[in-house]
Each structure stands twice: as structure tokens, then as C-alpha cells.
């Protein structure tokens, strides 16, 4: 098992290198001269720009610049300089990323709990009214653009009912609407996945075997069926984590949450590209790590895989 984990961690390196290459290349072809933008309007003499260009190594060939980018990233965690605040991008990410992670974590938890419970009940009561209503809602949930949903929730709960704050991130109360916004579509997807996975499992012979033993229905469902159905659900949760990180980008800017997503959206508007691309890189890394964890969990949930990697 340890061997498997080590191998998977090692496999992460080329992927991250690839992601860095993609992000770097995109930054490379992005129009605009960083030196000129960094110096701004006041210090923009031609000599000063050329000097800074030389200093930043902007005149070096592509491959050298990529090498330097990777070296700076690995050795110093340097992702470049924010055009707006002149801070290192890494520092800005360090300030904002924990908030995003907190929000994403809460959303995942919400989505998994709601999705799995709805999915199980729908599967067990297939074709019942509950099943039909839950699946119709799930379909709506997967079709709802989350930025729109965020605005609707804000209109209802913050403006009309005034139960929850519309912006900021200072208390748990502030996290409820954004987490619901981010989590809804994933809850819907997980509910649909859980339902179909459970239906698939419930038809299996070993479920009949468990019933033939005289086991009660609830134990049959929770111990025998769910444990088997969980395996594809785990994968879905992993994939949805990436979607939720993406969702956080939009949702944070709607609810004015000082997370990495809002930082990126603001940076887009200001054409502050190092921040945008640094953000992409960090989120891709987080997503890859989550997928790694998911794969390991997956191996634990399925003894067939576990013994393969022993």
C-alpha cells in the first residue's frame, strides 16, 4: 500500500510540471510587457523599462525563462510579482488560499452529506414520490449556474428576509450562503450518482444473499449495499472537488469573500495576469492532491484493489 502511495505521489510530479508548463506558456503569450506594467505610468522611462526587463530576464529565450520559472517556484515558491500591490504573488495566495480551502471544505461536506443521503433514499424507494421529487430537484441543481444561484440566494436571504449576510467572511454565518451556492450542483451530481450506483448494487446477488440470511433491510442497505456503492461515489466526489474549486472562483466574487477566487477575478479585471496564473497553478495543485487522496481512499474502500497494491 505504501508503495502504491509513493508511486502515486511520484506520478504527481510530471503532471504538476506539465501544468506549470501550460500556465507558463499562457503567461508567456499573454500580451503586455510586465516590466512596463510593473513600473507603471510614473516610472516608465525607456531606460528604466529596459533595465527592469534585463533584471527580470524577459529577454532570455522561452526555455531559459521556463527553467527559471520552475526553479524560482520550487526553490523559493516564487510565482512572480503582483502588478497591483507589488507583493509577491505567492504571498497574496498565502493570504487568500486558506479562506478558499475552508469554503471548499464546507461545500464538499455539505454536498456529500446531502447527496449521499438523498441518493440512498431515492434508490431504496425507487419510483416513489420522494425519488421523483428528489431526482427532479437534482436535475435542476445540476442545471443551475452557481453564480445565478448565489445571486438568487442573496436576493432572498440577505435582501428580503435579512437572515444572512450578503458579503464578507468574518463568521460562520457568512459561509452558509456561499457554501450552499458552491455545494448545490455537486450535491445534485452526487445524489444522482449515489442513486444509480445504489440501484446497480441493490440488484446484485450478494444483496439477495444478505436478505436471505435474515438481515434487516437497514443493515442490508447501509452495510452491504452502501459499502459497495461508495466506490464510484468516491471518484465523483474527487472530480466534484475540482468543480467546486472552480465554482469558488465565481462565488467568492459574488459574496465578496477574500479568497483566491475573488483575488483572481479582480486580477482579471485589472489585467493583473501573474496573479491569475499563479492562482490557476495553486488550484490545479490542490485539485491534484485531492485526487491523489481520493485514489488512495478508493484503494482502501475496495479490497480487490487493495490486495493488488499490497
Amino acid at each position: 500500500m505504501l508503495k502504491y502511495i509513493i508511486r502515486r505521489v511520484l506520478m504527481l510530479i510530471p503532471v504538476m510540471l506539465g501544468v506549470s508548463l501550460v500556465v507558463f506558456t499562457l503567461m508567456y503569450i499573454t500580451p503586455g510587457n510586465p516590466a512596463e506594467i510593473l513600473l507603471g505610468e510614473e516610472g516608465g522611462s525607456k531606460e528604466a523599462i529596459e533595465l527592469l526587463e534585463e533584471e527580470m530576464g524577459l529577454n532570455d529565450p522561452y526555455i531559459v525563462r521556463f527553467g527559471r520559472f520552475i526553479w524560482n517556484l520550487v526553490s523559493k515558491g516564487d510565482l512572480g510579482t503582483c502588478y497591483a500591490t507589488r507583493q509577491p504573488v505567492s504571498q497574496r495566495i498565502a493570504q487568500t488560499f486558506p479562506n478558499t480551502l475552508k469554503l471548499a471544505g464546507l461545500s464538499v461536506g455539505l454536498a456529500v452529506v446531502i447527496g449521499v443521503v438523498l441518493g440512498i433514499v431515492s434508490a431504496v424507494k425507487q419510483y416513489s414520490i420522494f425519488d421523483n421529487v428528489a431526482m427532479a430537484l437534482a436535475m435542476l441543481g445540476t442545471s443551475m449556474p452557481n453564480f445565478w444561484q448565489g445571486l438568487l440566494l442573496m436576493i432572498l436571504f440577505s435582501i428580503h428576509l435579512q437572515w444572512l449576510p450578503a458579503s464578507g467572511f468574518s463568521s460562520f454565518k457568512h459561509m452558509i450562503l456561499p457554501a450552499v451556492t458552491i455545494g448545490t450542483s455537486s450535491a445534485a451530481v452526487i445524489a444522482r450518482m449515489t442513486r444509480s450506483s445504489m440501484l446497480e448494487v441493490i440488484r446484485q446477488d450478494y444483496i439477495s444473499t444478505a436478505r436471505a440470511k435474515g438481515q434487516s433491510e437497514i443493515v442490508v442497505i447501509l452495510r452491504h449495499a452502501l459499502k459497495n456503492a461508495l466506490i464510484p461515489i468516491i471518484t465523483t466526489v474527487g472530480i466534484r472537488f475540482g468543480v467546486m474549486m472552480g465554482g469558488a472562483v465565481l462565488t467568492e466574487s459574488i459574496f465578496a469573500i477574500p479568497g483566491i477566487g475573488k483575488m483572481m477575478v479582480d486580477a482579471i479585471k485589472a489585467r493583473n495576469y501573474p496573479v491569475v496564473q499563479g492562482g490557476v497553478l495553486v488550484i490545479a495543485l490542490a485539485f491534484s492532491v485531492v485526487n491523489l487522496i481520493v485514489d488512495i481512499l478508493y484503494a482502501f474502500a475496495d479490497p480487490r484493489l487493495k490486495s493488488q497494491y499490497r
Binding site: 444473499t209 436471505a212 459499502k227
Partner: protein, 321 residues
């Protein structure tokens, strides 16, 4: 069929499946009884309603789409169809247990086999987890698997071993009735023989009554005392092994025997039964076998034949006996 020792009596059992394409009459007006210690072979083609019948006895049919429309199932003198869900649970696994067709799929892939056997034991006996696991190991030894393999997952065992585990699980609480649904069809021929031999030994040892579902007349000849031949949801012929093997009367039964190659015969030609099973949503009005029957007459088309006892304990459902 002596009354005194009666274990199971099914009266007029009718089971329908409600599907998109209409109502499927899987089992219709089925009557059957068996005594303690008997082994009954339930023989018929795929789709004849054998599995539906026994799942009906276990009350394990998925509802919807399956529906027990009418009938009574008496087990040990009590009507199983009147039992509450909870009472039924205490009967399943303890009084009646079942072995499913395919050992590959009838074990839970994410639980160790020991745990799966122990689960049955713990459900019906008031013992600790540890004790039940030890008993599970003993059961495994009984079916010829080393006790230390109790910690293995199903995928680590071969097909034959899995079926042994399933049998151990079914016999763990010493049930009165064991229902074996084609217990060996999924296995290799050599393994089949071993598993059957072991089953026979255990059945004798525990004095368990058995309903053996199969379409293999060889297995029937080897293991069963009584035989019921099923066709399109009905039992068309019932009798002792001697009755059926030596004096089969129903044209369908005769047809089944004609399908078995006989190596002693000079002219080695098989005579298959013409045609296919009727569409279960649209069964013939009269005798269900009428469209395929070589002896069919006028009355067969419109009139379902009655069950006639032609000799002591030998019943045939045909107009021409």
C-alpha cells in the same frame, strides 16, 4: 404425500411481474408439497418460473415489479405469506436458507468471507462477535476450506471455494429447508461433482430438506428423491425419481429426456423440443405447452388440463393421460 411429516405446502401460488410490456405471469396456480428430509428437484427451462417460486417462498421477490397475487405457502404449518417482515427475517437464514446461482456474485466483495458467515450466525444466535467468527471458521472447515482463510475476501478464492463458502453460510444455522438455485451451473464439471458430493454429505449430516433447482437431469438423478417438472409457471408433472425417470407421462417431460444423449443407443440422434417457451406476457389460453406439443389435440387449445394422479404420488397435468 404424507400429511404428518409435512414441511412445506404451497397452494395455488400465483406471481405476476408488472412490466412495461404488460403483466408477466411468472407463476400460476402452483401447488407443491414436500416432507421433512426430502430432496425435491425443481426442473425446467430458463424462464419457467423456478427461481420466482423459491424467491416467493423466501419472500425475497422485489416488489415492484413482482407481486404475489394469490395463494398460500405453509411452512411447518404456518402461512409464510401472512408473516410480518420481522417474523420473516427470523425465518430466513435460520429456518429456510438459500444458495444462489452464481457464487461469483453472491458474496459481498468488500467483506471477508468469515465475516459474511459470522453475520448469519450472529443474526440468529445470541453470541459474541468473536465466538461467531470462530464458528464461521468451523463451518468453513466443514465445507473443506481451511479455517485461516476466513480473513480472505471473495476475490481471493476460486469459484468452487466461493460456492463452498456460500453453502457454509446457508447451513450455518442448521436450517430445516435449504433452497439451492442451480448451485453448480456456474462451476467447472469436475468442481461440480466435488461440490455436489460435499453438499450431499452435509445434507445427510444435518438432515436438511432441500429444494434443488436445476435444468440438469443428471444432477437430479444423483441427488433428488422427488421431482417436479416446471413449464411456463406451472408444475406439469410431479412424482418420485422412479416415477419421472422410468414412467414419465407428460409430453414435455418426455421431451426433456429425449434431449439427453444416450451413449448406449445405436442411432445417436437428439430430439429437441420444437419451438420456444411462450411469451410470458401472452400465454396460450389452454395448456401452456400446447403450441409445442407433439400430441396436442383440440381440447388442449382452449382448456387448461387438470392435475391428475395417475399412480400413487405421481401427478401429471395433461389431457392425454
Amino acid at each position: 404425500m404424507e400429511q404428518k411429516n409435512l414441511l412445506l405446502k404451497i397452494k395455488d401460488l400465483t406471481i405476476n411481474y408488472n412490466t412495461y410490456d404488460g403483466i408477466v405471469k411468472a407463476v400460476e396456480g402452483l401447488n407443491l408439497s414436500m416432507s421433512n428430509g426430502q430432496t425435491l428437484g425443481l426442473v425446467g427451462e430458463t424462464g419457467a418460473g423456478k427461481t420466482t417460486t423459491v424467491k416467493g417462498i423466501m419472500r425475497l421477490l422485489p416488489d415492484p415489479p413482482a407481486k404475489i397475487v394469490r395463494g398460500e405457502i405453509y411452512f411447518d404449518g404456518e402461512n409464510l405469506l401472512k408473516k410480518s417482515k420481522k417474523e420473516m427475517r427470523s425465518i430466513r437464514g435460520k429456518q429456510i436458507s438459500m444458495i444462489f446461482q452464481d457464487p461469483m456474485t453472491s458474496l459481498n466483495p468488500v467483506m471477508t468471507v468469515g465475516d459474511q458467515i459470522a453475520e448469519t450466525i450472529r443474526l440468529h444466535n445470541d453470541i459474541s462477535k468473536k465466538q461467531s467468527f470462530e464458528e464461521a471458521c468451523t463451518m468453513l472447515e466443514q465445507v473443506g476450506i481451511k479455517g485461516e482463510r476466513a480473513g480472505d475476501y471473495p476475490h481471493q478464492l476460486s469459484g468452487g471455494m466461493k460456492q463452498r463458502v456460500v453453502i457454509a453460510m446457508a447451513l450455518a444455522c442448521n436450517p430445516k429447508l435449504l433452497i439451492a438455485d442451480e448451485p453448480t451451473t456456474a462451476l467447472d464439471v469436475t468442481i461440480q461433482a466435488q461440490v455436489l458430493e460435499m453438499m450431499k454429505k452435509l445434507i445427510a449430516q444435518y438432515n436438511t430438506s432441500v429444494i434443488m433447482i436445476t435444468h440438469d437431469l443428471g444432477i437430479v438423478a444423483e441427488t433428488c428423491d422427488y421431482i417436479a417438472i416446471m413449464y411456463a409457471g406451472e408444475i406439469v408433472e410431479y412424482g418420485t425419481k422412479q416415477h419421472i425417470f422410468l414412467n414419465a407421462k407428460h409430453p414435455y417431460t418426455k421431451g426433456l429426456f429425449a434431449c439427453i444423449p444416450d451413449i448406449t443407443a445405436e442411432d445417436n440422434k437428439l430430439t429437441p423440443i420444437e419451438g420456444l417457451m411462450p411469451d410470458p406476457t401472452n400465454l396460450p389460453k389452454g395448456c401452456k405447452f400446447y403450441p409445442r406439443c407433439p400430441m396436442a389435440g383440440k381440447e388442449c387449445e382452449n382448456e387448461n388440463p387438470a392435475n391428475k394422479e395417475i399412480e400413487n404420488g405421481h401427478f401429471v397435468k395433461c389431457h392425454f393421460v
